[in-house]
Symmetry: C2
Subunit: 335 residues, 2 copies
C-alpha cells in the first residue's frame, strides 16, 4: 500500500494501534503533543540517536525489521551505559516515496520487538515526508537511582577495565555484507554467500544492548566507577572515558574478546581482527571500570572480560601487545 | 572552517563549550551517553520533532540562526500544548559537506537563544555526517503538575474554543519568501522585496512558542479542558482535538484572528487569508478549550480570542461564515 493512500494521520493511527504501554510510568503515549511520564524520585536519563540511510545503513542488505530493532537498540544502549534502564521511546521518521506502508510496518515490528524485549514503551514520535531516503531518530528516556548512575568521568587509577561480549564482529559483518553487495552488483544472479557467517552478520544487523549486564550488576551490588557503550570502537570510546575521567589506560591486546567467526572472516579478507575490534564500532557492548577490590565480583556479571586497568593520566592511553611496545590508542569519529 | 578540520568530537566540544545549564533538574548535560535529569513528583513530558532540508526548510532564504531558533521553538511548543514548561532539549544533526563550522555555530546560536528565552537546557545530542543536506531532530523534556496537564482529549460540549495570537501569517510569509526566491532564480540581480512584510516573514522564520499564555493561565488559575498547538493549521488541529475528545466544534469565521499584514499579502497574491489561517500551518499558536463558566477569565490570558464553541459529536466540526452555510473542516498532513 502506498503511504499516500493512508496519509500522515492514517499512518500514525496504524502505528498507535500496535502499541501497548507496559510501564506504569508511561501515563500517555502516542497521540498528544507530548508523551506524559509519571514523576518519581529516580533520575531521568535522556538520549537521542540519528540514523541516516546511506550513512548508517544500506537498505540493499538491511531488512526494515532489523533496522527498526537496531535503531531502538542503539538508544537503549546509551541508557544502559549510564547504568540505567530504558523506559520510554519516541521515534521520528522521515520517509521518502519509495517506501510502502508495509515497509514502515516492518520497521515498527522491529522497534516494538526491541521494546518488548527491553521493557520499553513507544510513547510518541514524528512522521514526515522526506526527499532523500529514510531518516530515523530515536530518543529514549530511562531511569536510574542517582547513586547508581555511571558517568564517563568516574574512573580512577588501578580500576579494572571491563568489557561485555566480544568486539569487532559487527564490523566484519558489515565488510562481508558490503563485499556480497559488490558481487551482486556485478552479477545479479549471484546469491549472497553468508552461510557460516551468521554470527557476524547478526551482530551488525541485529545488535543486542547489554541489558543483562546492567541487571547482573544490580544483582551483585556492583556500580561501575565509569561506563560508556562501544559505538565508535573500543579505541575511541576508551579515549572518551579516559579524557572525561582524566586518567590513562593500559589495554592488553590479547585480553580483548574477539569471536572465532570474527577472526575467521578477518583472515579470509586479509584484515586485522584486532583493528576491527579497536576501530570498527557498532558493537553496542559496555566498557566500564570497577575498583580493583571488586575483582572477585566480575565472574558474577555474565559475559564480562577484564581487558586492562586505569593508570595515571600522564601515562596516556595505550594498548600493549603480548610481545612489543605499547601503542597509543587513536580516536575515530565522522569527518 | 571545514567541519572535517575539527572532526566529530571537536565539533561536539565546540558546542558543549557554549552551553551553560540553568535548571537545577539538569544534573548532567552534553558529554555522556545520556543526559541526567533529577527526579521530582511532577510528570515528565517528552516530545520529538524532525526537520528536513527541502521538506521543512529551504536554506536559500532560511538563515541558520533562525532555523536553530525555530527548531527549538517547534519542540517547546509541543510542551506548552500540554500546559507544561520545557526544561531540557537534545538535538540530533545530520550535516552534509556543504556546511562549515560557522554554519553550525549559527544554528546553535539560534538554538541557544531559544533556550535562554524559554529557560531550557541543551543537555545532549547526536551529530552525524549526512549525504543529503541538513537533518535536525529536536527532542524536548518538560514538566507539569499531573492535575494541570492538558490533553487533546478533555473538551466538552459548550466549552469555549480559544486561540492565541493570530493565524495564517507564517504561511503568507512562506509564500512571499518562495515568490522572491523564484524572482531571484530568474534574475540574480533582483533583491528580495520583503520591506513592509517583516511581520509575516518573521512569523515563518522565527516563530515564538506561546509560553506567556501558559504562564498567564497558571497565574489566573485556569487549566484548559483540552489543548493542542497549531502546527498543521487550525482545521487539522481542531479536528485532532475534536476526534480525541469525541466532540464536534463550531468555529466562527469572522472570529479567527488574522493580522493586517496577512490580509494585505493575501490580497496582493490573490490568495484567501482565511485559507492560510485554516490550512497554512506553522503558526505555533495554542488552540484550547475552556469551560463556559471561565469566560470572564479569557481577558486575563493575554492575546487570546474566543473563536467558537464545542458541540455534541453528531453535529460535526464546522466553520460558520458570517452569512452562509457552515462548512466542514478538512484535515491536512503530508501525503
Amino acid at each position: 500500500m502506498q503511504i499516500g493512500e493512508l496519509g500522515e494521520f492514517g499512518l500514525i493511527d496504524r502505528i498507535a494501534q500496535r502499541v501497548q504501554l507496559r510501564n506504569p510510568s508511561s501515563l500517555t503515549g502516542i497521540g498528544d503533543d507530548a508523551a506524559v511520564v509519571a514523576g518519581n524520585e529516580k533520575s531521568s536519563l535522556l538520549t537521542t540517536d540519528l540514523l541516516l540511510e546511506g550513512v548508517h545503513f544500506d537498505l540493499t542488505y538491511f531488512p526494515m525489521k532489523h533496522l527498526g530493532y537496531k535503531a531502538a537498540m542503539v538508544g537503549f544502549s546509551d541508557i544502559y551505559a549510564m547504568n540505567g534502564l530504558p523506559k520510554q521511546l519516541v521515534v521520528s521518521l522521515g520517509i521518502s516515496k519509495k517506501f510502502s506502508v508495509e515497509n514502515i510496518d516492518e520497521l515498527y515490528e522491529g522497534i516494538l520487538l526491541a521494546c518488548t524485549q527491553h521493557g520499553v514503551d513507544l510513547v510518541g514520535g514524528d512522521t514526515s515526508a522526506s526527499l532523500t531516503g529514510l531518516t530515523i531518530n530515536v530518543s529514549v528516556l530511562g531511569e536510574c537511582e542517582p547513586e547508581k548512575t555511571a558517568y564517563r568521568s568516574g574512573a580512577k587509577p588501578t580500576d579494572l577495565i571491563c568489557v561485555t561480549g566480544d568486539l569487532g564482529a559487527a564490523y566484519m559483518g558489515l565488510l562481508l555484507l558490503e563485499r556480497e553487495k559488490t558481487v551482486f552488483e556485478t552479477n545479479a544472479n549471484a546469491a549472497p554467500q553468508l552461510a557460516g557467517h551468521e554470527y557476524i552478520v547478526q551482530r551488525y544487523l541485529k545488535p543486542e544492548a547489554a541489558r543483562s549486564t546492567v541487571l547482573n550488576m544490580r544483582e551483585a551490588g556492583v556500580t561501575p566507577t565509569a561506563m560508556i557503550d562501544i559505538s565508535d570502537g573500543l579505541s575511541s570510546d576508551m579515549l572518551h572515558l579516559c579524557r572525561q575521567s582524566n586518567v590513562g589506560a593500559r589495554l592488553y591486546l590479547d585480553k580483548i574478546p574477539i569471536a572465532k567467526q570474527t577472526f575467521d572472516m578477518a583472515e579470509e579478507m586479509n584484515f586485522d581482527a584486532v583493528t576491527a575490534a579497536l576501530n570498527g564500532g557498532d558493537d553496542y557492548e559496555l566498557l566500564f571500570t570497577l575498583p580493583l577490590s571488586l575483582h572477585e565480583k566480575v565472574k558474577d556479571l555474565g559475559r564480562v572480560d577484564v581487558i586492562g586497568h586505569i593508570v595515571e593520566p600522564e601515562n596516556g592511553a595505550m594498548i600493549v601487545p603480548p610481545n612489543g611496545e605499547p601503542v597509543a590508542l587513536q580516536a575515530q569519529g565522522f569527518r
